[in-house]
């Protein structure tokens, strides 16, 4: 029996899953200290299913906490930034292309220092210990608690980053240091971006993961717990605490995989309608379609493996900008209103007309149009049905345009609606062969967390002069698959999702570093083994 939890910005959801059956589910508002909200939903799901906590085999938590913190610029720590590679790369200083307000949050303690490697492993410029030590002391004396260290071609040789960490240990042992070698993909700026964002969030991550653990401890749950990451696989809680950026894409991934699981569909578009945005993603063969281009998180370019998501600015809390004197007119002029993109977000329960506020939101219109009933409809302003219809048509059009942009081919596709805001969508969506609102649609995210996959990575340095490339690939893929099976996956569900090859030109002969990642579904009814 598995417990999936989704800690979102507005709600914390939980589902209890046995095999393919949802035994029970619960929702409660996310609390300032996330512990209380988690305890509340876990107690509710256990009670609803009349299940004892000792029956839980493992707990999976998906959270958008860190993504939201970045998007909303909340609780970010100032980062001491060290880049090793000067004079190369100075044309594009750290945080190039970032939104300026986010740059402000990260502070201005930036050091462009000599160092770095060339592609053949030789030194770009020599490591200057004295300059690094001076920078570390300045970061310490500025009172910063976290730092990011990136090095040109640090992927083929992590030594200079490691030396820098050692100097931090000597001069400022309390500063948490993130190094770019942890985010193993080439593309210097994107790797450095991830390193800086991670450093900024690492303190919060420690607290949040501790809160998760505290909630489970308080309830006496001893089952192992995992966090779901970008590509829908699980990582250990301690790993997530060190690398919170790895959870950035887990929200959409979980809602899409949850939608697939709840409907049994392998190829469909999934619309996750929340309070602020609607995320549209495509399922192909049961997997979220990956973005082949760099993904912007909170306006920052990254190169994580992430689902290809189109976010449109329409959710339950989206503001409708229309003059109040036009509410009751018998026509709605096209240029008299705009929908969003701003949203009242979690303040829906106080600011919208339905809840006694004075802001016209998409939810007010959905209730006025009879698509949903919640809040207090008697508090709605007097509106002409023609105006309401016109606005609903506009919602529909925005959703349909989004669907059309995410479609891979002409013709109609099944559409799965999940998330709390799915009431905004009428029955017929143009371009959809069917519109499915599966049971438990509002907790699809938590379902996605509960069915998260296990991954296994295998890596080795191979000389193709002694082992042919095909053979090396094949044997490494086998190793990765074995690891996934060992971690508790059902062998029938395993697939290779990533193969990465970096030629090590500084090694003799034809030598490459090969990395393979395989994933698989957890075998049902099995406990999770060691996550590779």
């Amino acid at each position: 029996m598995r417990l999936g939890i989704d800690v979102g910005g507005t709600n914390t959801d939980a589902v209890l899953l046995e095999g393919k059956t949802v035994l029970s589910w619960a929702k409660s508002p996310t609390t300032a200290d996330v512990t209380d909200g988690i305890i509340e939903v876990i107690e509710a799901v256990l009670k609803n299913a009349n299940v004892d906590r000792s029956a839980l085999e493992c707990v999976m938590i998906g959270t958008t906490h860190f993504t939201n913190a970045l998007v909303e610029r909340r609780g970010l720590l100032e980062v001491g930034i060290i880049r090793l590679g000067s004079p190369a790369s100075e044309a594009l200083p750290p945080m190039s292309g970032w939104p300026s307000d986010l740059r402000t949050h990260m502070g201005e303690t930036v050091f462009l220092l000599p160092g770095g490697y060339e592609y053949d492993g030789s030194e770009l410029t020599p490591f200057n210990e004295e300059k690094v030590r001076r920078a570390v002391k300045k970061i310490r004396d500025a009172g910063l608690r976290t730092a990011a260290v990136s090095c040109t071609f640090g992927l083929i040789n992590p030594a200079m980053e490691a030396k820098t960490v050692a100097i931090f240990k000597e001069e400022a042992p309390d500063i948490a240091v993130t190094v770019s070698a942890s985010f193993g993909r080439s593309g210097f700026l994107e790797r450095e971006n991830a390193t800086i964002m991670n450093a900024s969030l690492v303190d919060m991550a420690g607290h949040v993961i501790t809160s998760f653990k505290r909630a489970l401890d308080k309830l006496g749950i001893v089952a192992p717990f995992y966090i779901s990451q970008n590509d829908g696989t699980l990582i250990s809680a301690s790993y997530a605490a060190r690398y919170p950026v790895l959870t950035f894409g887990s929200g959409p991934t979980n809602s899409m995989r949850g939608g697939a699981f709840l409907t049994g569909l392998k190829d469909a578009l999934v619309m996750d309608i929340g309070g602020t945005t609607t995320d549209i993603g495509a399922l192909t063969h049961g997997f979220p379609r990956e973005s082949s281009v760099a993904v912007d998180i909170g306006g920052v370019r990254t190169n994580f493996r992430m689902p290809d998501i189109l976010a449109i600015g329409l959710g339950g809390g989206t503001r409708i900008h229309l003059e109040p004197d036009a509410y009751d007119k018998d026509s709605l002029a096209v240029d008299s209103f705009t929908v969003g993109p701003d949203s009242v977000g979690y303040r829906l329960n106080s600011d919208s007309y339905l809840f006694g506020g004075t802001v016209l939101t998409a939810s007010d219109i959905a209730v006025a149009g009879g698509l949903a009933s919640f809040g207090d409809a008697s508090l709605l302003p007097k509106m002409n049905p023609v105006v309401v219809k016109g606005l609903l048509r506009q919602f529909q059009k925005m959703m349909e345009d989004g669907l059309d942009r995410m479609k891979t081919a002409q013709g109609k596709v099944p559409v799965i609606l999940v998330g709390g805001g799915s009431v905004l969508v009428g029955e017929n969506l143009m371009g959809a062969s069917t519109v499915i609102r599966p049971e438990h649609a509002s907790v699809a995210n938590a379902v996605g967390a509960a069915i998260a996959q296990v991954g296994g990575e295998a890596e080795s340095i191979v000389s193709y002069d002694t082992v042919p490339r095909e053979e090396a690939m094949r044997s490494l893929q086998e190793t990765a698959v074995k690891k996934v099976v060992h971690a508790g996956a059902d062998p029938k569900t395993i697939s290779i999702i990533d193969v990465d090859e970096v030629f090590l030109s500084y090694m003799p002969g034809n030598t490459a570093q090969l990395r393979v990642k395989a994933v698989g579904d957890l075998a049902l009814g099995k406990n999770v083994g060691k996550n590779a």
Binding site: G85, P87, S89, E90, D120, F153, A282, V293, D498, E501
Partner: protein, 382 residues
């Protein structure tokens, strides 16, 4: 878009974004991902204030005696992802060039329009105020510097000036253009695999006579057509093919393959990114293999050839029509392969000797992309 109706073009930030998209596509997989160059350009422009823009001048506006300097980066795109510019390279090279020539350079333009090199002279222009001529020497991107129309027409590559991020510089005076490439490549390899280069310095008259005209504004239009199609919810590939068929230099265009990247073999060798990629169609039946040396050179399914150099072969994200340059291709990406006929000046027997399949050591005789695929011919076929 003929010489006579070329007018000065003004580029604002939106047009530069479009230009980067168009350059990436024309790069045939090479020339480097324009993202970093665009970012560098945007940072410079932001400092100049909201009304700043870059003007492109048509070659017809040059005086015959003007001194014009084509420029760009030479090396392996895989390196340019990791070793970013210091920002001093082009300026240092320009100063040296002017010293050698004993006079000021009057204008610059990209030696190749494809990839990030299409943006390189714009960065220099923002820093120096030099005008940028709306033309290039390739109409696409090629891996080697002698693969340029100026070499086909007998213009000398020397004196060439090569500079790196650390302040190293080389002046190359080679007796022929192949030697210039060899020396420049060897220098680039020893300096870390990526360098800035001025070469084929020429007079205004030579630019008018030899360059491939209007390619910067063509790239802007390519980017714009893809963007506008996406804004309208129309198919960006249809828009791209339509616009490619409308340009006098190009004309034949189509989708060569559609599938998922199954294998990428890519290494940095002798200053190039070389390797191959395998794309499998969604039925799991056929695989297209594309060989590359910075640029995509040949696309085959089994024994059947679908396109070879100098025709353009670009791999694009099948949903967004974003061009994925060779150094950015990853396992699992879902892509469409788009082919376009090269400008006819690259298809003459003399040009094919220098930039056709034989120049890359391939035994396959060049056949045009329209003949291989049964498409309508190119627009400027001779």
């Amino acid at each position: 878009m003929f010489e006579s109706d070329l007018k000065p073009v003004t580029l604002n930030q939106q047009a530069l974004n479009d230009l980067a998209v168009g350059c990436a596509f024309l790069g045939s997989g090479g020339g480097g991902d324009p993202h970093y160059a665009l970012l560098e350009l945007s940072i410079l422009i932001e400092k100049k204030g909201p009304d700043f823009h870059i003007d492109l001048i048509p070659a017809s506006k040059l005086s015959d005696k003007d001194l014009v300097a084509p420029c760009g980066w030479l090396g392996a795109p895989t390196v340019s992802l990791e070793k970013l510019p210091s920002g001093t390279e082009a300026l240092a090279g320009l100063e040296m060039l002017e010293e050698i020539m004993g006079r000021e350079v009057n204008a610059v333009f990209p030696v190749e329009i494809g990839g990030s090199n299409g943006l390189a002279p714009l960065i220099l222009a923002v820093k120096t105020g030099l005008p940028v001529v709306d033309c290039d020497g390739m109409g696409r991107a090629f891996p080697e510097s002698q693969m340029v129309i100026f070499n086909v027409h007998g213009v000398s590559a020397s004196p060439a000036v090569l500079t790196d991020a650390k302040g190293n510089s080389f002046v190359i005076g080679a007796v022929d253009n192949i030697t210039e490439e060899r020396v420049a490549r060897a220098a680039a390899v020893s300096l870390g695999g990526i360098c800035h280069l001025f070469e084929y310095v020429q007079s205004g008259k030579q630019v008018k006579d030899h360059a491939i005209h209007g390619t910067l504004s063509i790239a802007v239009e390519i980017g714009r057509s893809i963007r506008e199609a996406k804004e309208k919810g129309a198919d960006p590939f249809e828009a791209l093919l339509d616009v490619m068929r409308s340009f006098p230099h190009y004309g034949a265009a189509g989708i060569l393959f559609d599938g998922k990247i199954m294998d990428v073999k890519r290494e940095t060798k002798q200053g190039f990114s070389v390797g191959h990629l395998l794309i499998e169609d969604f039925a799991g039946k056929n695989q297209m293999e594309i060989e590359f040396q910075n640029e995509n050179l040949i696309a085959r399914v089994g024994d059947k050839i679908y396109a070879t150099v100098p025709d353009i072969i670009s791999v694009m994200d099948r949903e967004t029509a974003h061009t994925i340059t060779t150094e950015q291709i990853k396992y699992g990406q879902r892509v469409k392969v788009v082919g376009v006929s090269a400008p006819s000046v690259l298809r003459t027997p003399e040009a094919l000797e220098i930039m056709g399949p034989k120049a890359f050591g391939m035994s396959d005789r060049y056949r045009s992309i329209e003949a291989l695929n049964g498409w309508k011919g190119s627009n400027d076929a001779q």
